[in-house]
Symmetry: D2
Subunit: 302 residues, 4 copies
């Protein structure tokens, strides 16, 4: 199979779909993104890296960062699972409803509420949650310039009443260890990291390698890595996780910056990026490209 050619075909299949999406505009800094930008990268466990389109352009990784906060928090033990569930939420990513019914325990680590709790845990563990994510991404991608975009982080904080509501609500149930302001600061900082498709595909390879990092060291046990893949599949793309599993058939994590990082266990990773989003907040082009790629290659896990 010629993976380069399949990448190109998936890219070509996705391009025409971009016009149907809308760039996220809840913060000005994201609203300025080019709706026609699109890139796709593939990294294999054998060390190959390929890309097409704008695959080396930096974008705001947003919620894709939640995959890394979870992995880093779990690297030291499973305690965080007492404070956040593993079930799909069936509700929008920033909903407070379920949190009230379920007494401050977020449904899963990938809705905003759950990511706030995981960030809190990582902050307790490391003293610098955003820094830990940044360093991990730099190490795995080999890109030492990868960093938080401070303008985006500040913009998120300024327009962050909804996340502040979530964090205070969780705190009201006693499910935060650190002050709300500190947790939110780190949350915004890791969401506002900018990276390229290339960077993220490389950084996600530890999940395709079942827990093994670029340097050969083990971040997670084989079993734990597989389990993160399972949570990605059931919860990684907001309340469209079922649809993503149906169409793409790979564990993946999306962000409102337009990126989606998907894992092909044992084989590699794919990262697609296009800022135009569908109504569930997932990149129209990224979903289309991943769908086309897995259909053509049979690389779905099912």
């Amino acid at each position: 199979m010629d993976l380069r050619r399949e990448l190109q075909r998936a890219h070509d299949a996705a391009r025409p779909t971009l016009a149907t999406g809308r760039v996220a505009d809840y913060i000005p800094a994201l609203g300025a993104a080019d709706p026609n930008a699109f890139g796709l990268a593939l990294a294999t466990v054998d060390g190959e890296v390929h890309g097409v389109g704008d695959w080396q352009t930096d974008f705001s990784i947003q919620s894709v960062s939640k995959l890394f906060t979870l992995a880093l928090a779990l690297a030291t033990g499973e305690a965080v699972w007492h404070r956040v569930g593993r079930e799909p939420s069936g509700t929008p990513f920033n909903s407070l409803v379920q949190l009230e019914t379920e007494h401050g325990i977020p449904r899963n680590p990938f809705i905003n509420a759950g990511a706030v709790v995981v960030t809190d845990r990582l902050l307790t563990l490391t003293g610098d949650a955003a820094g830990a994510v940044r360093e991990f991404l730099r190490a795995e991608s080999g890109n030492p310039r990868l960093d938080t975009d401070l303008v985006v982080a500040a913009s998120e904080a300024e327009h962050g009443h909804r996340n502040a509501a979530l964090a205070h609500f969780i705190a009201s149930y006693g499910n935060l260890e650190n002050p709300v302001e500190a947790v939110l600061g780190h949350y915004y900082a890791h969401c506002a990291i900018t990276a390229s498709c290339r960077d993220l595909a490389l950084a996600g390879l530890f999940l395709a390698r079942h827990g093994v990092r670029r340097n050969g060291g083990r971040l997670l046990s084989r079993s734990e890595a597989k389990r993160i893949n399972a949570v990605l599949l059931t919860c990684g793309t907001y309340d469209a996780a079922g649809e993503f599993a149906y169409r793409v058939g790979l564990p993946g994590k999306s962000g409102v910056g337009g990126g989606i990082l998907a894992v092909v266990p044992g084989r590699g990773t794919l990262c697609a990026w296009g800022p135009a989003l569908d109504r569930a907040g997932n990149s129209v082009g990224a979903v289309a490209a991943l769908d086309a790629f897995t259909t053509a290659t049979g690389w779905s896990i099912f």
Copy 2:
């Protein structure tokens, strides 16, 4: 009818019920209240004031203050009704669920979310929402020492993650005009006012007089005063408003400090206080006393 005797009888009927309640303990400053304290006061539109038990003891008025913030906000016009509804919520006083479904418009001015919006409005109108409530209470009760308990206000703020969540959530829908911190500061300050049954009964008389203040000036039109009474009846006692209407049959506002201020339109006001609360957060003794009083006197509005 010998009103003094009926007050005494209502008081005597209520006393034995106190043991079934629990003092609010969500903030330490309230948890110290004496569960056996109990007082009952009556003020008539003719100028009579009577009381039994601990009717001259100060207590934290808490949500009873919401009646006054609403009246003061409405005194300058009906604009606040664009930002808060008039329907019973059917959910607990501090719930966020409905707020999400209804896009940041609280159901009514007496659940916490609605009171935050009304406080915000009063802050815009007056520059000092808590001060406006305090001055009004002083003027109507004739008690110049009536004031905010700063220890209680600070304790509320310290344990106020739930209210902070509500306020940020409302702000995320664009339904706050002032900064969250400022609004919450005034909210806590008017809730933390201490007053006696006597003070509150006198302060509430403008509603029994259909809008006319102690000094003969008009705060609200006859129609508007009646309408506040209607909102009190349907929404004034949290999600037990139906039960309160059924048992007591008067418009009333309760607070977790254990006070309930009830209005007998055209006749007067009753204020009962006992810190032991039922599961809906209403004073066990106050409900029992008001029930006994209206049953004996026929002073229900129905």
Copy 3:
């Protein structure tokens, strides 16, 4: 006060509002009603009966019947209150959501679910729930021809999947004593009774007389009659009960046939009818007329 003149004025104030409403069309038999029909009747405890417009025209009383099923069920004791609550629901009249959270106990007797439970109780008590309502209405109105419209009842049954869902759902929680089909049959039959404003105003007088029937016999204790008025005020007009209390200030029960029966305790009853409904399912004209009448006469209970 010239009550006839006030009735006429209220009628005249309401007429222009009719055009803003829509006739209920969920069953064909109701959809044929004339949106421009409008009538208003007043009956006093002194025996006066006045009317304007189409006050002697028969219409489908629909949910107004629920007031009578409740009164008749309570006439034999308070047992039904173990099976249905007294709180406003905060949700549409035919919602199943709350029923699930609250394990088959409807919030109040006036939402559909609650009325199904009350009908079930009345069926157990009398063996003929619809017949009991019909006989009571005939006796109080003095209209021996008042009866169920069998075409409407059949049409309700035919289009009654939602009510069937409610009834089966309640039965699944063990809160029905009779077979679902039997309960629904009686429910549709009492809702499909046709009567005029005149008939209903007379039939409701027992609530203005605090429990005393036309023949001087007592249906309910004074206390129980007052309490039904309280439930009417907080729950009688679907999820617009707060708005109705705010505007009209009287206990009342509405139906999707366009009728509203309101009680002025100690004074009399008003029945207004106009098939054009607002979005909450209440008659646009009837609400407007009652609003105008109570504003002009000061007959609000507040």
Copy 4:
């Protein structure tokens, strides 16, 4: 890898967990099941069949049947996806709440509401939905005696108020093509089929073979078969789908009779059965056995 040995080990690991579960007792016919019964079967795409424990004992397949109704309905086209979603529900399997919010479109084909819609579709397509499922199971398992247990089906119907509520509710939104009674009859009849672990493992192999039946004919396209696997993974085990994916890592469908049928794409199927259920309604022993088996063999899809 010695698959027989791994099966035996998984069986041995599961046995001690049985005591922590409870047999479903919502219908008498199921309540009589032996809580200590336990069996486990494996069928491979190469034609091997192995089993341990009570793997040849018949049990009530219940919701496992929903996998087959879906596959048979999809075999003729994708139209059913207009009437049912593909997202996890985040709520219990028999909830009506979401159905109300989402206007009668069930979240997925495996919650009861969704299975009712799929059964309705299959009834329209075949004229005999339960018969179609039965014939398919007989053909794939090679067991001609496999049949509906009429006592169980009758018991389901008799205690089926909840499902009747769901079906009427769906019908009220216009999302049923056949009469409620007919649809429920077929629904109960296919749920009440009895089969053994061996039978079900064989009957599920078409999903491991990506759509190819025992006789070599194709029921579904490769792509459609993979997509059913995806829906199984995200929605197949009620509101514990996330947990099942996390622990077991295979697409699977459970039933309250205690069976779970899991698919190992490209390799085979596993069927485990033990009537003792956990709180989410999944077999305690079956989950434990599948967890142990995939952990030991690495046969998770992740």
